[in-house]
Subunit: 375 residues, 2 copies
């Protein structure tokens, strides 16, 4: 399947991307948070994907203002975040912390832009659709607040595999355990793991059973509640009700919202692992009807944005070191529960900075650009 | 609760450990595989725990024969594996690969020893009990083949938390995802992670999103099917039916056997992570009756061999870097499923070389020594 925006026959109004490029007719894009972990990937993607944009404005915090970033081959000076910067902007992509989005997204909308927000600020707002173009592209058109939300990177990896199976079998329940990369916590997370690995690498005892990672790492925890090198940390997010973390409840709430299943049972455990980029999830999914593993493999083989990597005997299963830097979500280890003909277990890995963040934002942007061009 | 063997009032026959030590009256122990990853921990434990043994014979492969190992403060020369070495041995602990146990355990039994086997060779044999002294100590007395099996290290971590909850609520179903340390694959696994971390540490690009771990690591995979540094590998064991791995089915079969629940539903995903020692499991457990998170915490706080570490707001949850080198199994992140009053989610970490292997073997040995002393 191709994205709706890439199917010319459906677009009677003429699609910008299939006409010779005329910047005067193409929408203006603002990229807020252009120099962060996700923003940097976004610049790469905008340079590599079909060019649906006219002018692109790169916006960042005062620390980065004045820097020159190459985007689409053009050196572009990073400008500061002001209300006026959104004047004339058609679409504004926000890759910034929640509180920045919360304040500035409505400002951008007030100046006439449609906002695609990659923070958590608006995800659970009933008037803000959460869009995964391969799954619910139609939702992008109904945006009472002028804002479209991007799902969290862990939800994104899982939902790309779950949605096609739901369409076939009818999803009833999910039990999920995550293996989340440090770049999900931004560039600070990546830098922290790097420093910690240097420290434990200097301590020969840490190759043994008795090495003390806490002593080697000291207070250098970065954005994490504990050392992440040579460790797994069963916590991400803030403390929510009943012992759950905010990230675990978010995975549930976002999955329900994207699939339109408000009563879906979801039990998630979110765990940080010493991986640079690539979020993985072990999924146990229970459906309304009986499942078949070979048929499920076929469904996922044909699903848009998914690659099936499922031959354990040949050493083929989804892993972060292979999925990093790629667009699709990798799915494998598909097997029917021995004890339950309605349950499938599988393993999913996706690049949390690409499909988990920048790529999905770019795809939503292309949906909107197509819509604008059709006006 | 204390172990039955530590409760003198129950032992009318007189217990070796509470009498002044008389090596002539204490059973002779043979430790087969004394210089391996688990065997080395066993020597430490035998030196630190109450001394129930008379003579201890250290046995290893020809590579280690003649080495001197200090055990209980006594320099002991490692001898080779022959039938005669078991003459006069009361209890033989085997920490060796499956095929070595398969051949040599019956030889030891034939020479009069009771065998405690830490390999997978006899675990599923109906005539071989699988014993966790805190859970089913009585099973050690019924051993038609003269062999008692130790559970796999992943099963062990999980079952220590699951068994006390099962006694209260009645277990119906488990969905489990593991985070298994490299030392679960022996010293070769530890050495492999160490070498791989050195290699990726030399490659500055690997601190970034684009580094190529496969290129840095090359063919140096050790016992794993893929690089484990900066990665998670959703595979351990051999290929079994229906896409399951042997380790995943083993987790199910061993749990059923220890708990005496032959129809228990278990869906497991086994994943190797770049941790030296300390196996973790994310567990979603469904029970026959309704559960309460605070009550479950109380049950686990009082459970033998378990420590409750459950205060996320204070950064307290079970992690390998804290559990390594300790005896108990660490349990935390206990919460009731939002959507199912009969389901609990929790996270468990245990030292796979201690309770997951050597410690449990030592505890079974102490049960047997008590039994022998009572004769």
């Amino acid at each position: 399947m191709t994205l709706p925006s890439a199917a010319p026959s459906q677009q009677s109004g003429g699609v910008a991307r299939v006409r010779p490029r005329d910047p005067r007719n193409q929408p203006t894009l603002a990229l807020v948070g252009a120099t962060g972990a996700v923003g940097s990937v976004m610049c790469e993607l905008l340079s590599a994907r079909m060019n649906v944009w006219g002018q692109i404005r790169l916006i960042a915090s005062s620390r980065s203002v004045g820097r020159t970033v190459v985007c689409r081959g053009e050196p572009t000076v990073v400008v500061s975040l002001t209300p006026e910067v959104f004047d004339g902007v058609d679409v504004a992509m926000f890759d910034v912390p929640d509180e920045v989005s919360e304040h500035w997204a409505p400002v951008a909308v007030g100046r006439g832009a449609i906002v695609i927000d990659n923070s958590g600020a608006f995800r659970m707002d009933h008037d803000v659709p959460m869009v995964v173009p391969e799954i619910n592209p139609e939702a992008a058109r109904n945006r009472p607040k002028g804002i479209v939300a991007n799902a969290d990177c862990t939800t994104m990896a899982m939902i790309m595999a779950v949605a096609p199976l739901h369409r076939e079998y009818g999803l009833r329940e999910l039990v999920v355990a995550s293996y989340q990369a440090v770049s999900g916590a931004g560039q600070g997370g990546v830098d922290t793991l790097r420093r910690q690995l240097d420290k434990v690498g200097d301590d020969a005892a840490l190759g043994s059973r008795t090495g003390n990672v806490r002593r080697a790492v000291g207070d250098d925890l970065g954005p994490f509640p504990a050392p992440v090198a040579l460790n797994v940390v069963p916590w991400s997010g803030t403390v929510a009700d009943g012992g759950w973390s905010s990230d675990e409840l978010r995975l549930r709430d976002e999955t329900r919202k994207i699939l339109g299943l408000p009563d879906l049972k979801v039990s998630a455990t979110c765990v940080r692992v010493p991986v640079v980029t690539g979020h993985s999830v072990a999924v146990h999914a229970v459906f309304a009807s009986e499942v078949d593993a070979a048929e499920a493999q076929d469904i996922l083989r044909q699903a848009p944005g998914v690659v099936l990597v499922d031959d354990p005997a040949a050493g083929e299963f989804p892993m972060p070191i292979d999925a990093v830097g790629t667009d699709p979500t990798w799915v494998g280890r598909i097997r029917r529960a021995v004890d339950d003909p309605r349950a499938l277990a599988f393993f999913v890995t996706g690049d949390n900075l690409r499909k988990g963040a920048a790529l999905n934002t770019a795809q939503i942007g292309e949906l909107l650009a197509t819509e604008l061009a059709a006006r």
